[in-house]
């Protein structure tokens, strides 16, 4: 178990290095000269030169890359060009909103998805199952931005139940109230996906021989369903949750824009539009880190559900 976790942890290093290399090459891959874009058409060559040396663009690429790595190890992600503040500070300010939103969205998706999937598997071949399957199919194929707009139209405009913009003014209750809509919008697609996965994984497990054995020994149905089958069936769902966190971070961009919330996704979009290179790099790096951490947690929790991994 210890070796397994150590191995997984070590894998993080090459992953992050690759991400860093791609981020670094952004400045060479993006069209146009960064200094020109930032300074505008009326900049003098001296001003451009000065900016280039500040951004480390005048050195050969490998030196520049090493410098970039060095700074990151020191925890320095550079300074935002337009905000005149450290990138780390800007990100730290909005990151909690995104994390809370993503976790809330994933939490809703996991809870609702597994519940729907279990119901469908339990009442296989009934009308309820057909309805739930259709429901999951529809939700799984609803893009986040459509779900978000629909939620606003229905629950904010028509019924006036949830606020449509912002993060609320102080107080946990207000923040939670403002979180409902965005989290729901974010969870919709994954709810359907997890529901379908749970259903098929459960049906597959219930078809296996050990379920028959357990039945033949007189273990009641509810117990087989929620203890024996569920633990076996949950593995693919855990894997998907790990991946899903990354997707939800992507979906959070839409939700943050639609519901006008601050957040990492929105920050990255804004900084790309402004061509604020250090901020883009910093934002994407933090997003990548979140993704890696989510996958790491998923991998480790795998071991809990599969004793064969635990042993290795």
């Amino acid at each position: 178990m210890f070796i397994y976790i150590t191995k997984r942890l070590l894998w993080v290093i090459p992953t992050i290095l690759t991400v860093l290399l791609i981020l670094f090459s952004l400045s060479y891959l993006l069209p146009g000269d960064p200094a020109d874009i930032i300074l505008g058409p009326r900049a003098t060559p001296e001003m451009a030169e000065e900016l280039e040396s500040r951004l480390g663009l005048d050195k050969p690429w490998y030196q520049s890359y090493l410098l970039y790595l060095q700074n990151i190890i020191k925890g320095d992600l550079g300074t935002s060009i337009f905000r005149d503040r450290s990138v780390l500070g800007v990100i730290a300010e909005v990151l909690p909103y995104t994390i809370v939103l993503t976790l809330a969205g994933m939490g809703l998706a996991v809870f609702n998805g597994i519940s729907i999937g279990l119901l469908a598997a339990n009442y296989n071949n009934s009308y309820l199952e057909k309805f739930l399957t259709l429901f999951s199919f529809i939700t799984a194929s609803t893009p986040t931005y459509i779900a978000g707009v629909l939620l606003i139209v229905i629950f904010s405009v028509n019924f006036n139940l949830i606020p449509s913009i912002g993060i609320g003014e102080g107080g946990t209750l207000s923040s939670l109230h403002h979180l409902i809509g965005p989290a729901l919008a974010l969870s919709v697609g994954w709810t359907g996906y997890i529901a379908r996965l749970t259903r098929s994984s459960m049906l597959e497990t219930l078809d296996q021989e050990f379920i028959q054995t357990e039945k033949s020994f007189g273990i009641p149905r509810y117990y087989i369903l929620y203890k024996y089958a569920l633990k076996k069936a949950i593995k693919p769902i855990i894997a998907v949750i790990g991946l899903g966190i990354g997707r939800l971070l992507g979906g959070a961009v839409f939700v943050e824009v639609i519901f006008n919330r601050p957040g990492l996704g929105r920050l990255i979009v804004d900084s790309v539009n402004e061509r604020d290179l250090p901020l883009v790099r910093g934002g994407v790096l933090v997003a990548a880190l979140l993704f890696v951490i989510a996958n790491l947690i998923a991998d480790i929790s795998y071991a809990y559900f599969d004793p064969r991994i635990k042993q290795k």
């Binding site: 021989e209 033949s216 273990i219 149905r221 076996k232």
Partner: protein, 324 residues
């Protein structure tokens, strides 16, 4: 005459298949005395496992009992509600051991957890799992698991096939069932382990006085174990007799052919096979289902279905040759 522990009358089972029903078991009549080991033999697809599962209600939702009844200790168990059946029969009066030990235990739970749950529900939730642990360790010891307290906390993948089958037997006998349905419990094991498990099984039977319905395709295994043998072919029983008698004087041509397929360690000539294969349900031939493969078949076999008849005391056979 000892009591009948199991009595099956005119049982027919169907599977739903694309809107229509396929009959996989037909006119099954079978009795099992208390303490008896009855072997159910036949080729793959003859319906022997289906029969075992029907008795324990383990068939998938797509299957249904079309007609007939199953009496267990004089009580019709077909009419029990699902809940009563689970509370009174499964794990109390009957248990089942299945073919492939690799799949028979849940891979994500410790052996101990699985055994304790069986005991816990057997005790109708009256005893705590802590109290039951002693019993569980005891039975593991009895089936020949060394160091059971340690192995209690291991997962199935840490056990060999033979060990898993021992654990299965332990779980089956924990409930001290009156009837054990053993669905080819040694087929997936190698020969030496098979012998050990069979040995263990007969010891347990002696100790617990359990009746066994032993499902197998291997007449060799069954010969040394069973009191009586019922031969199945294409969803029906074609011959039932005492083990000795069946081997010495097989009546049905199918039984005769099966026995000829048995290898003999001194054998020098080529092993015989039965030409053709078991027909699928839905493609059963008219008349006697065995007639296309039977070397004795005549006109009547193609038109009428032979019924199981007592040709000698306690020897039943379903063949028109006996009417000639």
């Amino acid at each position: 005459m000892p009591d009948k522990i199991l009595k099956i009358n005119n049982l027919a089972v169907e599977y739903k298949n694309k809107g229509s029903y396929l009959r996989v078991l037909e006119d099954i009549n079978l009795e099992l005395d208390s303490g008896e080991i009855l072997a159910l033999v036949g080729e793959s697809g003859s319906g022997k496992s289906t029969l075992g599962k029907t008795i324990l209600r383990l068939l998938p939702d797509s299957a249904r009992i079309k007609k007939g009844s199953i009496f267990f200790k004089g009580k019709d168990i077909c009419n029990l509600s699902e809940k009563d059946f689970n509370d009174q029969i499964r794990g109390q009066e009957m248990a089942m051991v299945i073919q492939n030990p690799q799949n028979a235990l849940n891979p994500v739970f410790k052996i101990g957890t699985q055994i304790l749950d069986v005991l816990y529900f057997k005790s109708k939730k009256q005893k705590s799992r802590k109290e039951l642990k002693k019993e569980a360790v005891q039975i593991l010891k009895k089936v020949g698991i060394s160091d059971p307290e340690y192995r209690f906390n291991e997962y199935p993948h840490q056990f060999s096939g033979g060990m898993k089958q021992r654990v299965m037997l332990a779980m089956a006998f924990i409930s001290n069932p009156s009837l054990l349905i053993a669905d080819e419990p040694t087929t997936a094991l190698d020969l030496t382990v098979e012998a050990q498990i069979l040995n263990l099984l007969s010891n347990l039977v002696d100790e617990y006085k359990t009746s066994i319905l032993y499902i197998s395709h291997d007449l060799g295994v069954v010969a040394g174990l069973s009191d009586r043998i019922a031969v199945m072919y294409a969803g029906g029983i074609v011959e039932v007799a005492q083990t000795r008698e069946l081997f010495d004087q097989p009546n049905h041509p199918y039984t005769e052919a099966l026995l000829k397929c048995l290898p003999d360690y001194q054998q020098t000539e080529e092993l015989q096979t039965i030409p053709g294969e078991v027909p699928d349900p839905g493609n059963y031939p008219e008349g006697c289902k065995f007639h296309p493969r039977c070397s004795y078949s005549f006109d009547r076999c193609r038109q009428e279905v032979p019924l199981l008849k007592e040709i000698e005391p306690n020897h039943f056979s379903a063949c028109f040759l006996n009417d000639r």
